[in-house]
């Protein structure tokens, strides 16, 4: 077995594992795990309407940010 096979396998698996770790850390930082009960309940209520609502909410926040922006 050549050395490069080990290098490739190691770096490949560590890279994939690293992505999963970074995704998890992003979730923790974002507060997605702050309220475990809500996090679990979210799966029950997950539907198209709520996704739509979430998108609209993002838009609304952007608009409000523009509106309430006052240069010092």
């Amino acid at each position: 077995m050549d050395d490069w096979v080990i290098v490739m396998m190691l770096s490949g698996s560590l890279f994939l594992g690293g992505i999963a770790l970074i995704a998890f850390m992003w979730g923790v930082k974002n507060g997605q795990f702050d309220d475990e009960e809500k996090y679990l309940n979210a799966t029950k209520f997950d539907n198209v309407e709520d996704l739509q609502a979430a998108v609209e909410k993002e838009k609304k926040i952007e608009e409000l940010k523009k509106k309430s922006y006052r240069p010092e």
Partner: protein
Amino acid sequence: MLKSIKNSKKIDYKENLKLSNKIICSHCHLEFSKDVMIVDGSHYFCCNGCQGVFHLLSDEGLDSFYAKTGDVKLSPQTAQYEDSSNFNALAFYDKFVKINSDGFSEVSLIIEGIHCSACIWLNEKALDKMEGVVEANINFTNNKATITWADSVVKLSQIIDMIRAIGYNAYPYDASLQEVHANKERKDYYLKMSVAIFASMNIMWIAVAQYAGFFSGMEQGVKTILNIAEGILATPVLFYSGWVFFRGSYYGLKNRVVNMDLLVATGASLTYIYSIFITISGKGEAYFDSVSMIITFVLIGKFLEVISKKNAADTLDIIGKHLPSEVNVIQNEKIVSLKLEDVLVGDIIVVSSGEKVLLDGLIVQGEGSFDESNLTGESKAIYKSLGDKVVSGTISIDADIHFKATRDFEHSTLSNLVSLLETAINKKPKIEQLANKLSEHFSTTILSLSVLTFFVWWFWPHSFEESLMVGISVIVIACPCALGLATPVATLVGLNLGAKKGILFKEAAQLETMAKVDLLLVDKTGTLTVGKPQVIKEERFDGFNINMLYSLVKSSKHPISTGITNYLENSKESINEILFNEFSQIAARGIVAKYNDIEVIGGNKKLMNEHNIEHQYESDKSLFYVAIDKKIVAIYELSDSIKDGAKELVSSLSKINIETIMLTGDHKKSAQKVAKTIGIENIHYELSPEDKLTLVEEFQKEGKVIVMVGDGVNDILALGRADIGIVMGSGSDIAVDVSDVVLLNNSLHSLLAAFKISDTTFKLIKQNFAISLVYNAITIPLAMAGYVIPLVAALSMSFSSLLVVGNSMRIKYKINRK
């Protein structure tokens, strides 16, 4: 598809209603008979409030709420609230509203009336739909909400109105820095631990390959590749996850203390540097696995300590809830709301029935009874009229009065109580932990031994590399993991076991403190006794009528009446309830009623004297006289029964040298009687809450470590000040908040179990230290002599940690055997 399922559910639900012939309110889901319901198309409502909320939700397109709630019952929408425009006051904004980095306003609220996850959904959706609300985030676990909004578009009062309109209420709390800080710290640990655990797990499987190669032979090229991979993984563990140890050792050195952080930091970083050196030179064995293992294990130990600390901020939030911030004051013949702090001495304040008195003063108009149990523990209502003194913290039961403030809020009784409480919590003496004391010496010793080993090897002609490796191996093998895990694992097992037995320790360190206790102070009523008087003796005379007596006592909620009602119900005599023509309760006296011109009077000695009824009966217990037409027909003697296990508690504690002293607000005779039955020698009676506090402080000055057990608001000062405050789960909210340990099942057996658990846990912690010290005493000399090969070092390090964890598990067996 989803919608059709929801609709079919609704139809089933309505079918059920019709079949059962009972009508369920379409909003709150409570059952009512059909004739009291408001009919609105195909819907039925129990009240206008529910109807209003139902229509509001349909208009806003939020009616899928009902599919989400299922059969959960809500509170009907009936409550009346103070004007929400108060929330727009400048003073309110100053105190509670913060401006975030995007320029939006932010407030922290506690939402009342949340039953289920659908309620959270509804609140968040309803607020999100409002123009100007940026974000509403409600935590299901503690019902705390963070709401962000653009103040130029919508005002806070409109947001509060929306929450109220959909059937909930909200009150603000100060999300003090402390809580924010505690949450941030916890999150930080999560992140650090996830990196450390991820890297360690990966390093371990690479290390397995290396260990296999150590015995079966491995090419240097492959070895270097594995070392590099381990090195890459160990780097974030050391510098990101392990940062707390570098910081800890820096602050330690600044204060001239050698702590365990320094040992971990030097051990890990020297091993790391050495391993890099080995990887580059291609000779010897690298120890990257040890670097990440040490950091990960000790970090987990540290994390366990962080999460077991109680959140003092929550306590003060709840007390804040008990203090409304405004009072109604008469100014220029008009009633205006003033902030508590703005009320001056001499202002006339209006209090209606059911309201809390927030300032001290003298009544200038009106009369009625007050509940002073908050302050005195006295459960009887106290009647007050013109010229009498009202005290802050008491509650008006039926009095509508005007009173003149005699002290401003800052100097009021209530405010004094709160500030006393805050200092009591903060002044709690902290016993220095054994772990810190031990690890300080341990760290210094190991570091000096390692340096010594290095120099001895170097001067005893060996190569620099070899001497360095032996020196480092001393630090690596002197496993701080076992020492770091000794306390947290054992306390966690202890806390868990306590929780299973209905004992909630709010902080891990309390197990240790409780194991050192030498004095138990215990409240009488509700703690040693049940708090519900029972009939122990009955005497009946001519003219006795059980139907009249039963109907008389049944209509009163006083504990004595309840005691007699229960006694009569259990007597198995046939009883027919009658209806009185006239009926009145006289506070602190008894009950007077009339049935077809027959006068029935039931009550204490004072009531009999007032009605000129002759009686000759004395007792040290509570007496209840019954008179029909001015003639005594029965006498009941009642006494509060002592809780199961009280005697056993006192005798078991005296065996392990813990003295028990009883404190009570009750009078001498009744205190002595209870004490004699249980076997308590020392009692203090007729005590006010402040007296109890003073006693605790006096005992502490004598150097005693004190456990205080109580249940009422009148115990809170002592509970807060004692080294360990234990409260019965049935106790009042504030008492539960200030205490350190809660006995959920109110049982004295649990109290004894709490002592046993803490004692055993503390013993096992000491054993754990002994194990890790013995381990070090054996392995360190071997390492110094250069006999430790990498495999043994790694294995023995994990083994010592496992030994400590395994030993901690023994707490369960020890307690169950006792």
